[in-house]
Structure formats: C-alpha cells, structure tokens
Amino acid sequence: MFKNYLKIAWRNLLKNKVFTTANLIGLSTAFAIAILLGMTAMFDLSFDQFHKKKDTVYQLYLSNQTPKGTTISVVNPIPLATALKEEVPGIKHIARSLSQDALITYQNKDFDLDAEYVDNDFFTLFSYPVIIGNTQEPIPNKNSIALSESTAKKIFGDGNAIGETIFLQQGREQVPFTVASILKDTPVNTSVDFDIVIPFESHREYLPNIGIWDSYNHLVYLELEEGVSLSQFEKNTRSFTNQHYENQIESMVRDGALPDTNGQYKQFHLLPYSDVAFVSYATGIAIVNRTFPYLILGIALLIIFIACANFINMNIALGEKRLKEIGMRKTLGAVKRQLFGQFWLESILIFVVSIVLGLIAAHLLLDPFKTLFNTQATLSNLSKPVILVGFFLSLLLITLIAGGYPALILSKLNAIRALKGKWEMGKNRLRNGLIVLQFVIAIVLISGTIVLHGQIQYMRNKDLGYNKEQVVSIPLNGKMDSYRVVQLLREELKNNPNILSVSGADNNLGRGRDGSLSTSKWRFDYKERSIGTNVLTVDHDYLKTLDIPLVSGRSFSKEYGADSLSIVINETMAKELNEKDPLSVKIQEDEATYTIIGVLKDYHFQNINREIEPLTLFMNTDWDLYYAYVKVSPAAIAKSYDAIKAAWGKVEPQAEFLGSFLDENVDRTFRREKTMATIITSGSVLGILLSCIGLFAMSMLVVTQRTKEIGVRKVIGASVSSITLLLTKDFLKLVGFAFLIAAPLAWYFLNNWLESYPFRITLSPLYFAMAGFLAMLIAFLTVGARTIRAASANPVKSLRTE
C-alpha cells in the first residue's frame, strides 16, 4: 500500500512538472532562508546562556531619582562590593569586573589584549573553565594573571606559559605579572570576552579610589544565599544605600528630585544574568527586550507561511485534476482515512525533499550569509534536541495543515461526483484569503525595507556638526605618551600639503576599528544645582581639525598659555547652565575654578540615535589622550591616508595602525540598523518572489480552467486586451485588497520603530504607495505574461478540446 502511494505520488509529481518545480523551489528557498534566519535568532538568544548559574547570578544596578526622572547606572564605586558583602545580609558571592584594553610586553614584543579586571569570585559565579591552574582561584595573588588558551599561544608559542613573567603597561610604568593559569577561550556568544584576566586590585585606579564613593568604573555581579528573595535583598540594601551615598542623596533632595514609592532616592536592584545581554536602561527602568531575535524568527516564520500558502493553494487546485482517481479509489473500496493518508504522504514527500534541499542550500550559503549578516552563528546553534524535536513536530503540523487540508477536502468528496469530475465548493475564498495574506506580508516587508533604507540614508547623510569625510581618527594603542605621539605625528606630517591639521582627544567619534566606545561624565554643583555633563579631553586644534564652529568666545589656544583651567562647552550645556552670558560662568570644584572660554555649536559627539547631551571640553595634559585626529585635504584622500599610516609606522612601530575615516566610524554605529535592513530586505524580496510563484501557478490554473470561456468570448468578438484584463483583474483586486490591509499595519509598526530615533525621517504616505505600487506591478507582470498568451491563442483550438 505504502509503496503504491509513493509510486502514485512520484508519478504525479513528475506529471505536474511546473507545480512540482514551483513548490520545490518555493519551499526549499523558504526553508533554507528560514534555517539561516532561525540560526541567527537562536544565536542571538543564546548569548550568555552557557553560564551554569545564569539564573541565580545577578548584575547589580542602581536607580537614581533625579529632578528629570529616574536614571539607572550599572557602574559602581570601588568600595561598594566589599562593603555590601559585609553589611548587607544574604550575599553568597560577589565579584567586581572591569573590561579594558591592556598592553602587554613579553620579550620586547607588544600585545594589545582585551583585559578583564576581576575578583576571584568571578570564576565561582561564571562558567569560564580553567584548563591549567587553580580552578577556584585562577589568579591567586595580586601579581598573577590568567590568559586565554589562544592568547597564551600567541604570546608564548607552543612553549610553557605558566610561571612566565609578562609586563603590563600601566600609565607610564611597566608592571610585572606572573602567568598563573590558562583559561579556555571565551565562547563567541558571551557578552564578556577577554584574552587576559587581571586581579581587580591591580587596576591602576584601584588604590587611588579605594575609599571614594563617587567615582564609578566597574560592574558588580553577585549570587544570593539560598532562601533570600530579590525583594528581600533590595529591602536589605536600603539603609546601606542611604548611609553610603548620603552626600549624593542630599544634593538630589536639594535639586528637587522625588523619592520612589519606598521613599528611596537611590535603590539597588538585581538583574538576572541571563537577561543582561538583552537589557536596556534608557527609560529609567530595566527593560529586557529580545525583540530583535524574535523579529528575525518572525520573518523566518512569515516566509515559511508564504511558501506553505502556495503549497496549499496549488494542492487544492491540482486536486481537481485528480478527482477521477479519488472517485475510482472510492469505488474500489478506499475509505476516507486511506485517501487522507495518501494525500498527506504526498505532502510529506514534497516537504521532506524541500527540507533536505533547504538544508543543503543553507549549508552552502552559510559563509556569505555570515558575512552579510555579521553573525557568528553556526548551524550547530540549531542542533539542540529541543529545537530538533520542535522542528520535527512543526514539520508534521505544517504538512498536516498544508497537505492535510486539501487532502481532507478531496477525500470527503462523494465517489460519483468525483468520477464525473464535478467539484463545486467555496474553495476560492480560502485561496483568495491566502493570496491576500501573502501579499499583506510582502507589502509590509517592502514598506519596511523602503523606510529602513530611508532612515539609514538619512542618518548617513545627516550633518553631524563636524567634518566626517576628511578626518581620520587613530586609536593611540602604543606605549608612548599620547601627547608625544600626537606631537610627533604633527611634525612628521607637517610638510605634507595634503594634511591640514592634527589633534587628539580621549574619545572617538562613531565606532572605530578598535571597536571601543566610552563615556565620561562629570557632575558638579552650580548655584545650588547639580549639573551633569559629558566630558572630553582634547588637544590643541581639536575644533579646527573637526570643523566644529564656535558660537561665541574662543577655543583653546597656545597663545594663552596654561589653558588647563579653561573649558569649552557646547550649546546644550550652555542651555543647561541657564545663564545669559555663559562666558561669565565660573565653576568651582574642590580647589579648582574653571572658566568657560567658549561655546561651540552642538555636534553629535555620541551615536546619532541619541539626543545631543551637554558636553564640556578640557585641555589638561595630565589626562591621557586615546585618539589622534588628522584632517586631510579633499584632493588626495587615499594618498593622504597612506601618508598617515606611514607616519604612524615611524612614530609607533610596535603598535598596529587602526586609523579610519570618521564616516566609516559613523557607519559602524548603525551596524545594527544595517543588519536589520539586510534581513528585512531579503525577507521582502523572498516574500514577494514566493508570493509571485504562487500567483503564477494560480494564474496558470485559472487560465486552463477558463480556456473554454476565453474561446467563446473571442469568437463573440472580445479583444486580447479585454480578455487579459478580465483574467488579470481578479488577481490585482486581491493585491489591492492586501494593500489596504498592509498599509496601516506597516505604518503602525514603522512609526513605532522610528519613534526610538530622536532624529528620523517623517513617514510619508509615499513610502507605502511605493510599496503597494511595486507589489502591484510585480503581480501584474507575473499574471499578465500568462494571461496574454492565453488571450491571444486561437479560439478554435481552445474550443476543440472541449
């Protein structure tokens, strides 16, 4: 019986080559893409999930009531962890952790490494296995460090690493450390990746800040004792916070901040570590948001849905051709169940073949996909038992719906009616419904594509307030004093007519090739008010190099000698100070009095998806620079870049040159948007393509069904165009209807999405009209090709077959 079914199925598939091919192409493409997208989503969702204690280890964060609302900070002062463990009951383990770059020297060779400064308890909380060394205490004393396996190999080759001494650059000193353990390399799906682990106490900021409660720089993780609940712990911390942050709370009260419902101005909270990779604190509360991976999964499902809808439609339509077979089988004694089984089996056959083809395609596309979508995901992200079983079950379910529905309808038919080939049922409603749904999805995705690209273009072309096309920023990753490097670069490039100016600062613009991003803030009291500002340390010529105009006053200048007590602020900061003449303002802090010497025009010193915040520029050679900026003339940009690289090679021969133009850096900051755009674009292309495959097949069937009608109409005198219109109209109506549903839906989603950008394009109806028109045009071309041919056929031929 089974063999017979397979045989019949096989021969039927061969007979209906067009439909089989359409189905196979549609389904395998859909599966291939869905597998790849699913893999990406699963990879994103798997971040940090490998830690055994991911649900019982928490990240500590502090919510602060300010006059402008609640803000959240995750960075903490040095004495916090120790004091918390001693004074607040319920903590089992607590560890501090600080990520920073570290420059290591071994036998005169320099290595720029990702360092993690941690307490030993870090390894109790997290699952970073130790290969060689003490598993409990991989860094047993202040002068020991641990290396990842591949880093040890990079530094020591195949030789022994344990017990060797390496030197860590700390400010202007080189401090010796002994390698105590080797750790397994961090997995790709971790938020905290490091090459080297250094004791927290050995950080250069540790000793100077050991009793200081208002300087924050590191994260704190902890595990609670058994039986201690989160709310209990949060309650326990209240008196602790009130005591240790007393000064800050006083100024909060003075500035008019309102306490939270528990009367607290500062409140510690805990976030489960499994949520850390997905949390956003932007609105003052911790929002765990996994939308992005779920959006990807959603698109994968939509694509599968479109392909399945095609399959259902074609299967029902083809069922008509098989009525005789059904009738015959019934008279020969087949019961409903058997017929149902047979048709289901045929569906499973197609699906299994499609999935195999899809898997092969996914495998072949893996590498280009990974580059395109910027992901490290692998197919092994999908090969977990839960997912495989789920996949298998959903396969059964999809085939049961996609193949079973037509099978059910067909198997229910009365034998005699089937034999006569008569089949009157309301199947068109289902067919039309599915086509409309397909096009709704396609149109929503197309609108998404258009709007997303519009927003990216907007962000890329937006005037950021500085010159991003002509300026190269270079991370100062060498050992030499940063001011000296900038000075040497200046001298080295002085005689090059294409180099216009050289400067430096302690922060980058956009995201450079070193990938690091930092924020420094300063809070001070001015006229009984607490004012917060971002701070930036710059070198001479900073404004000139970046073409940032001054609104009033002057910039730092060599002519005025010591400018270390002068500051330059941006317009937002001037507004914050709320003075008629900001240049008259003097800011007193500790022993120093700062004078504002200039106000510069606002520029986007942070990511473009953020409002411009207050900014204060300092020039103080006691504070290091981290980036050099070089402005080149627009004439020979590529040549100038090479010249800068050559100059760098002379100044810092040991350090890698990571210079990049600022427009590249800015592009890098919306990598996420770009990835999203790529995914939605490919989703919409695939969506419209698959919908059209379905439409094409349906139009073919309709044409076959209406051959006689077409013949009769032509004999009576209908023109080719009127018949084409008649046949195409029905389908275009469906697309039009889909547009009516899709447009408001797309508007709603896109509007929501755009709202997270302070600087955004306005949604014009034109975007949606364009998407609708595009879908309509493609549908018309798909259906039209088929119908015009049918309409221009000789009517005598079509009538003769009847």
Binding site: N4, K7, L332, G333, I416, L419
Partner: protein, 220 residues
C-alpha cells in the same frame, strides 16, 4: 437471493419542486442472472445502477443485499459490503493514468489488505486469463479502448466479486471490440458471476437473461 429492491424512491428538490429520479422500483436479482437495464437518456438507468452499487443513496424504500439491510447499515459497513462483493465496469474505463496495467489490477487488492505474494499471484492469474501478460507494464494511454476496457473488467473481477455492475461497458468502443467484450461478459456469466449492465443497444441487451425497461425513473 442476491439482492432485493423494495419501493425505492429517489428524488431531488429543484425550485420547490420534487423531481423523481427513481420512482417505486421493485425487483429481485438471483445469483447467476445476467440483467440488462434499458431506457432512453435520463430515464434513471445509471442512477439505479449506482444505487445498487451503493455508490449513491436513495430517499425511500428498502434494499437488501445478501440479507443485509443496505438502507439502515452504517457507511463503513456498506463500504465493506461493496468492496467485498461488487465489481464496477465503466463506460470510460476509469483506469488510473499514472499506474501501469499491472498496478491498476493490483489496486483493489491493496484496499482489501491482501499480502504481497498473494496479490502477485492473483494479478498474474488475471493477466493470464485475459491474455494481457504482454501489456502488464504499459500505461492505459498506450492501450486501445477495447484493451483498456478489458483491463477495467479484469480489475473488477480480480477480487472475485459476486456481482458485476457495468455502466454502458461498450459505449466508447467500436462494434468489433464491443462484441468481444459482450462475449466476455457472457462467458463470465456462464462461470457463475452475476452481471447487471446498463445499455442502449438492443443487441447487447440480448446477451442478458432478463431486461428491465426504465422510463422517467419508473419500471415499465
């Protein structure tokens, strides 16, 4: 007694009016009979045959098949009944185009759950009996009309039914092929198979032992 029809009525409602397809049909069929049903187009011949074959229902009356009350038993039981005892032959053969001659013959056996070896033996037997061994791997489209009908009859006979229902079995054939088919029916009847055929032709009707004439759904 093979089957018995008692006051069978069948109708459809059309525009508020009841149109009778079968009206008060009464007759009995004994095993070994060869009955021809005759009548003009639309007189209800095929409908009657379908009712006898249990492919179609009726609205009033009683139908006993081998002492089973067809009018009151469940659909599944009814399916088993005709699967077991009745074979159908159609005017347009109704062979499955995707299957070869051999596979077409095998199909009814599949639904009756015969074992593989048994099926093979029965199919080989039938191919032999109808002299179509050489055509066993051909598809229906590769055969002439007469040959296709031969396969159709072989398929109807393969599971040894007590009754063969034939709806104008020679309607699509030329006269020579038609005659051969009728000879075959006669021979089968002599071997003990009960046959009921619907036909337009007096000549074919003459092969039968009894003729039932229908007009507007009524026996005359």
């Amino acid at each position: 007694m093979l089957l018995q029809l008692h006051n069978i009525f069948k109708w459809v409602n059309s525009g508020g009016q009841r149109i009778f397809l079968l009206k008060d049909i009464n007759f009995e069929v004994r095993e070994g009979e060869f009955i021809s049903i005759m009548g003009p187009s639309g007189s209800g011949k095929s409908t009657l045959l379908n009712v006898i074959g249990m492919l179609d229902g009726f609205d009033e009356g009683e139908y006993q098949f081998l002492d089973e009350p067809v009018h009151s038993i469940k659909e599944k039981h009814r399916a088993n009944l005709y699967k077991e005892y009745i074979g159908f032959v159609f005017q347009s053969y109704h062979l499955l185009d995707e299957l070869t001659v051999k596979e077409n013959l095998e199909m009814p056996l599949l639904y009756k759950k015969y074992k593989g070896a048994e099926r093979k033996a029965m199919v080989a037997d039938m191919l032999d009996r109808f002299n179509i061994v050489g055509k066993k791997d051909l598809f229906p489209a590769q055969l002439s009309g007469g040959q296709q009908q031969l396969v159709g009859i072989a398929r109807a006979l393969i599971s040894n039914p007590k009754l063969i229902l034939a709806d104008e079995p020679t309607g699509n054939l030329n006269s020579k092929q038609g005659e051969e088919i009728m000879q075959l029916f006669k021979q089968l009847n002599e071997e003990g198979v009960t046959i009921i055929q619907v036909t337009h032709s007096e000549k074919n009707a003459a092969y039968g032992s009894r003729i039932i004439n229908l007009l507007d759904g009524r026996m005359i």
